[in-house]
Symmetry: none
Subunit: 415 residues, 2 copies
């Protein structure tokens, strides 16, 4: 089965909001084994909605509409679809009662246009709205299935999960099971990674291999189908093993994770604490580290040393180090890392010194980054990176490299 | 003129990413006075892309494609469009040189598939990519105009602003001039702001008033049309004055700015330096401050004190203060702010202590935030905020309040 998602709302075409509903529904449909071939966004205009619906009927079996179920004049999804299908709108008593209750509960006076929200297309299955007023609908004709969902994600998402999914599963019969797994890589470009697994991508059928690049990372989504979940998982395992043989050194995690999250997990397992002294990154590493709740068990505090004065005054770097090697140097980065750990009594210290741009610094071009890393019991160490991109991109990638360097350094201690 | 935006990429249909490009371009086109009637998303599949392109040709004059310009096998936007238009792909020497330079600069070996990125549709105007490798294109046929832009927003947005916009403006002839201005507010909710200017919104026609809320801020976009730019500006001035009369106290800046940018400008004008000691925000304030190039003239460094140990050890807070009042207190925040300034020899010190959640701390519920502010020559001061939302939302809003508090405090010194 394949599907199209049609979002109705001029606010999307004006760029006032972004179509997160399409993302949510696409993920859900993928999990149900339904291929989404198109997303469409159309404004609050009956003719253009009719046009979009006509096109979707020809190319999609399941059509999901979001938005346009509210009480105002703009809200015309139901009316337009009903008219196209030659159906009437009828009052749903249960929806009407729940709308009245809603107004009672919130001590507001119900205006007449709110009654409109209780009208549903005749013959449709009503999908209850537990988080708002407008109910959804599911309707099957000889050629297509239609689902109408409200626009606000806070209403749409729970409605789909609780009632919509079941309506779709009920109609799709005994479909093949879909399993998918995302492999995350850092430190290798998309083209380079794809070159290394080109033959696997060319042969792909089950599982499929979908690469995606973003924010300096590359992910591969492996999706397998089989009547049996276990077999689908085994198909993925096999391809994953082949991929890991080729590019496993850049792999860092599965599905929804990040380098910082993986680092945090590792530190918790090893019961280690971490501190940082950040010049180039200005606090970005520590901010990301503390964005996860529970960071307090592995992070006490750290320093931001944007100027040489702060490197010397706050982080106690020897002025001679800066004089002799510069602030943008491995020597300075190593001292910053050691001192960050010492000043906070932490097991690990990391530092970032470099040039975010746009101007050069101490003769180094933008993108030159030194990361210092001190792990208790190991010799202090630094790495030089040459990164490209905007100021923000350089800082973000430096933070990711920092995470990766610590993870690698901690793996070495196991050897 | 009307437009359709077609995003190409299976990752969108799988729900891996959300189509923010459509939002960005819709806003930009609205400013150019171009109506966007449809957004379409299609996967990396030549037949379905052909289908989407065929539909768009019938219903839109300007068609903008995003995505599918990269080096991998998936990337087929150029090939498909060229084939549909009966055109060849030709090598763009300038793009090729810049791709080679990119690899040279980053010390990476260029794989053969990267050459593909330098191919452009014959007869098109090449749009340079200053932030990545794949160039964009603009092409006019008898019936339609086509623009091809890369998928990553970090490449697409600057390309459109620097080169794409001009290509479109050049073709659109003598249209009415569009002027628009964004007013930015912080510290007031969208509904409250809208209520205060409800009559202005109801009467709007030229200029139009479009409110938008996000990240704790509310913006009003005023857009006026006239044959003459000056008249359009004057129409905006008039409505702006009426709005400022009502809600001016929450206004902080125009167009693409931020509270942090406004704070940075103010500090530069007044030639003041700033430091921070961050508990709750974990470095977010300093990271944002240093995200702007040139921050080094007003920021030397600061501290992150996530634990009481770091508040005492790094920021030299008197242990008795924490014992007596708690770390989440005005007293502790004030001492942190004073010490941050003193330790870095800065004119201003700010601190953030509070509860980001999900758990309570020292008996305070999540959302309790104390901001300490020390300005040289003024008595130290703290403010208690009660914020709501997720962990990240609380931290972000605390940083914004911090900026606003400093801006207000510095205005008082003028009085």
């Amino acid at each position: 089965m394949n599907a199209e998602i049609i979002a109705v709302g001029s606010e999307l075409l004006l760029g006032q909001i972004v179509n997160t509903n399409a993302r949510f529904l696409s993920r859900q449909l993928a999990d149900l084994g339904i291929n989404v071939f198109y997303h469409t966004v159309v404004g609050d205009n009956p003719d253009r909605l009719k046009n979009a619906m006509g096109i979707a009927r020809e190319r999609a079996e399941l059509i999901i509409f979001t938005g346009g179920l509210g009480p105002t004049k703009d809200d015309l999804t139901k009316d337009t679809i009903a008219a196209q299908l030659g159906k009437q709108l009828v009052l749903d008593e249960e929806a009407m009662t729940s709308i009245e209750l809603y107004f009672e509960k919130t001590n507001r006076v119900m205006t007449e246009n709110n009654r409109k929200q209780a009208l549903v297309i005749e013959g449709s299955t009503v999908l209850k709205n537990d988080h708002g007023m407008a109910p959804g609908m599911f309707l099957a004709t000889a050629d297509n299935k239609y689902m109408l969902l409200p626009g606000p994600p806070s209403e749409m998402e729970p409605m789909f999960l609780k009632y919509g999914q079941a309506a779709i599963s009920g109609m799709s019969g005994n479909q093949a099971k879909i399993e998918s797994r995302v492999l995350r890589f850092f430190g290798i470009g998309e083209a380079a990674l794809e070159t290394k697994i080109e033959d696997l991508i060319d042969q792909q059928s089950n599982p499929t291999i979908a690469p995606l690049a973003g924010d300096g990372e590359v992910t591969l989504r492996l999706t397998a189908r089989d009547d049996d979940n276990g077999t689908a998982q085994a198909l993925i395992d096999k391809v994953e093993a082949e991929i890991m043989d080729r590019v496993g050194e850049y792999f860092y995690g599965y599905d929804e994770t990040s380098l910082m999250l993986e680092l945090s997990k590792l530190l918790k397992i090893k019961n280690l604490t971490l501190s940082a002294a950040e010049s180039l990154t200005g606090g970005m590493f520590q901010q990301e580290l503390t964005s996860v709740s529970g960071a307090s068990s592995l992070f006490k505090g750290g320093l931001v040393c944007y100027s040489n004065e702060a490197k010397i005054g706050l982080v106690k770097v020897n002025p001679e180090t800066i004089e002799k090697y510069g602030a943008v140097s491995g020597e300075c980065a190593e001292e910053l890392a050691m001192n960050a750990a010492a000043l906070t009594n932490s097991d690990i210290g990391i530092s970032f010194s470099g040039v975010a741009g746009p101007d050069s610094l101490e003769g180094h071009p933008p993108g030159t980054v030194f990361i210092g890393i001190h792990v208790k019991g190991l010799p202090v160490h630094s790495e030089k990176l040459t990164l490209s991109g905007s100021r923000t991109a350089i800082r973000k990638r430096a933070v990711k490299f920092g995470c990766q360097i610590i993870i690698n350094r901690l793996s070495e201690t196991r050897k």
